[in-house]
């Protein structure tokens, strides 16, 4: 099976590419893209958030059978060392991460929000970003999103 990840077609080993395999595990265990994290397995925490045709999607509950022909973007391609995404700059300016585990998912969720809504209100940010961060980086990430908006 072939899926389209970060701008390139990627082959998945046929014997493991069960159409029910969640995208999260295809990314992590078959393609070695470990920036996307496992948190709950039921789409409840957002640690596994990626972009699917530009929309935020929780990859732990998206089977690869539903990804064929669609564009997947992960944290590894949100920006680059030379040209980081404005949110990545804002994240550093506000020193958001603590343990850092949920930050990929948060950045992807926030980037999808800003792509649709250039100037979200606080209420719109709160409604759109419902990822879990156990370190409690919420006040800083809210400020970072506002500064990048």
């Amino acid at each position: 099976m072939e899926i389209f990840v970060n701008g390139a077609p990627r082959q998945l080993a046929d014997d493991l590419a069960d159409p029910a395999l969640p995208l999260l595990w295809a990314l992590r265990d078959l393609l070695g893209l470990t920036g996307t994290k496992f948190g709950c397995g039921v789409g409840a925490c957002g640690a596994c958030t990626v972009h699917l045709d530009g929309e935020a999607a929780r990859s732990c509950v998206v089977p690869i059978g539903a990804v064929r022909g669609r564009r997947v973007v992960t944290i590894e391609a949100l920006g680059s060392a030379e040209a980081p995404h404005p949110l990545q700059r804002a994240w550093l300016a506000h020193q958001v991460p603590q343990c850092g585990y949920c930050q990929s998912g948060l950045l992807m969720a926030a980037a999808a929000l800003l792509a649709k809504n250039r100037r979200p209100t606080d209420a719109e940010i709160d409604a759109a970003i419902d990822n879990v961060c156990r370190c409690g980086t919420y006040p800083r990430l809210r400020a970072a999103i506002r500064s990048a908006a």
Binding site: D29, C99, R134, C135, G136
Partner: protein
Amino acid sequence: MKRRGLLVSGLGAGGALVVGWGLMPARERIGAVDALPVEAGEVGLNGWIKIGADGTVMLAMNRSEMGQGTHTALAMLVAEELDVALARVRLVRAGADRLYGNVATMVTGFPFYHPRETEPGHETTAAKAGQWVVAKIARELGINVTGGSSSVVDGWDVLRLAAATARARLIGAASIAWKQPAGELVVVDGVVSHPAGSSAHYGELARMAAATPTGDVRLKRREDWRLIGTAAPRIDAAAKCDGSARFGIDVRLPGLLYAAIRHCPMLGGSPGAVDVAPALALAGVERVVRLGPYGGSTAALAVVGRTWWHAQRGAAALRVEWQQRPAGGLNSDAVMAHLEERARTASSAGGGFAFHSRGDLARADAAAAQHVEQTYRAPYLAHATMEPINCTARVAGGKVEVWAPTQVPGLARAIAAEVAGVAEDAVTVHVTYLGGGFGRRLDVDFVGQAVRIAVETGGRPVQLIWSREEDLGHDFYRPAGVTILRAGLGADGLPQTLRITSAGDAITPRWIERGIPALAGPVDTPDKTTSEGLFDQIYAIPHQRIAHVATLSGVPVGYWRSVGHSHNAFFVESFIDELAHAAGRDPVDYRLALLADAPRHAAVLRLAAERAGWPGQGRSRPLAPGRVRGVALHECFGSIVAQVVEASIEGGRPRVHRVVCAADIGTVVNPGIVAQQIEGAVMFALSAALHGRIDIAGGVVRQINFPSYPVVRLAEAPLVETHLIDSTRSPGGVGEIGTPPLAPAFANALFALTGKRLRELPLRL
């Protein structure tokens, strides 16, 4: 039994060791170069510092980074004394040498002295002696623990002195080479120069420095610091914004297999008959491994697969006849009822272990004008670290390699050796970034499991990952507790007597049984964590008895961010608020009246109250309609924190809008990280105050994923302000100190709003 042997011989040889060790000065912990292996081009200068050929300063990093910022803070201490930019410090793996043990966490944890007995400059002889003995034992044991908010406390003198010593030798080398007095040499970002023109970077001087005597070493004067005290950006932040930071779960090795796990759903139970055929029939499933109880875990079955999803699907397909533990299924309701009965009996009979008593309670109680007695309760809680529990292991050729997000690499090494049947020096532990720890990763059950599975995989590495359901269902939980508080107030409304009787399981004896079995004694010694925050409560009350009844519920219990303080602060600071109201006094004024002899505590409370606009404290600020304030003050981990919470009820549910924190943490190494930690601790505590409870019925935990174990998300997150007292004392703890005051400050606000006193967590209107 090796560890116990060490301990006993250390004590037995006390007299001889006393002479050599003095009062455990930091210089005894700088260590020799052989503790820190060097690679080609590198030169070791002591047990902590080596220098690369390009002048890079390499620091042996013994503490785990789990979000608390300790890698940055400890690197700052070294960069400061060596006069290099923070970016020039590279962290390298600290090995298993006892040098890298944590002395501070044992010294503050084991002899339970009242903080006033250990106040710097005013220590009692008994406290000094007790701490000295524990420091010696801790040094001898060398247990490497990242916990107890102790990393900077422990590293403060040692790392600065190790770096200053290295610097003195580098300067000494330049002085000899250039025949110039050391006092005329200057260092700028690792380049030593003399006004006459000579110049060389550390890499060029290192080899000669290693052969140069240390000479006089002086730590920098506080006024010369250029890095300590600044909000330097975290050294781990960039990798945590682009997906490149490597957590335990991200370890990738050639031929890596993945393992999923199913514990017996009943805590302490085990698998009986197992039909593995449905699992092995699935594509991508390789094998099934039976796992006994490792490091205190419940027995389990693991399924090995080619991706974690395949393994997990196999685990779900196993048909197992689970067996209840022999003593019968655990029930949290029954535990709570038992705790209440034990607390009540002990309270009326003066029972339990008295961690603190003073004065003449019977006489003072008889003279009291008014008595207040209340019972408070707290539930079991899970840690729910964002990174699910995981460990990667490879067992091949008589060697074991472990990659683990752990707070205790030495204990991980010990259990790996035991499970694989090899000597400890055949085991290498690589500590990865931790996706949260909060105390959960002080246990090594998952390391034992991963190594056991790796024994079966023919030399191929295997990565064990627990699902979130397994994590929440098989944690080492924050113990439940019931506490009865009773005070007698004088005619002025101030308490003359205070009796506190708490009941709940002790953590430390259970943790030692699981993680360091050789140190477990035949009977439990009193565990300070049960009563911390109660026996050392901060207010001047002349007659006190603070006791705890240690129970054995059978529920696996562990250390949870701020440990005993996490619920004890709720009990005592809510109760003090009750007393203030019973006396008809303002809660801030009332507390200040009890802090006449505690100027540091009073200053912290005043600062929080002023910044929050508390009426009567500086410039009071009106609140938005429907909002109220509540206050709490607490001392823990060597630091003092006050919080003023601004709360309301929205849609019938309690809500926190703003939290103003003031803290005296002694010397501040990095105020940016301190603010981060306090914000995070507030959110952690708010999750517990609003939502947190683990219920157990028939041995099965009821809350097994985020929908049923809710935590605070962005929409519920308050604004947090942090104000720090300027101090020149040695640093106190940071990572846990923001957690304890939140629940009582919140509950006190809700009382001010509704007149209803909430005496049980989580807070329900």
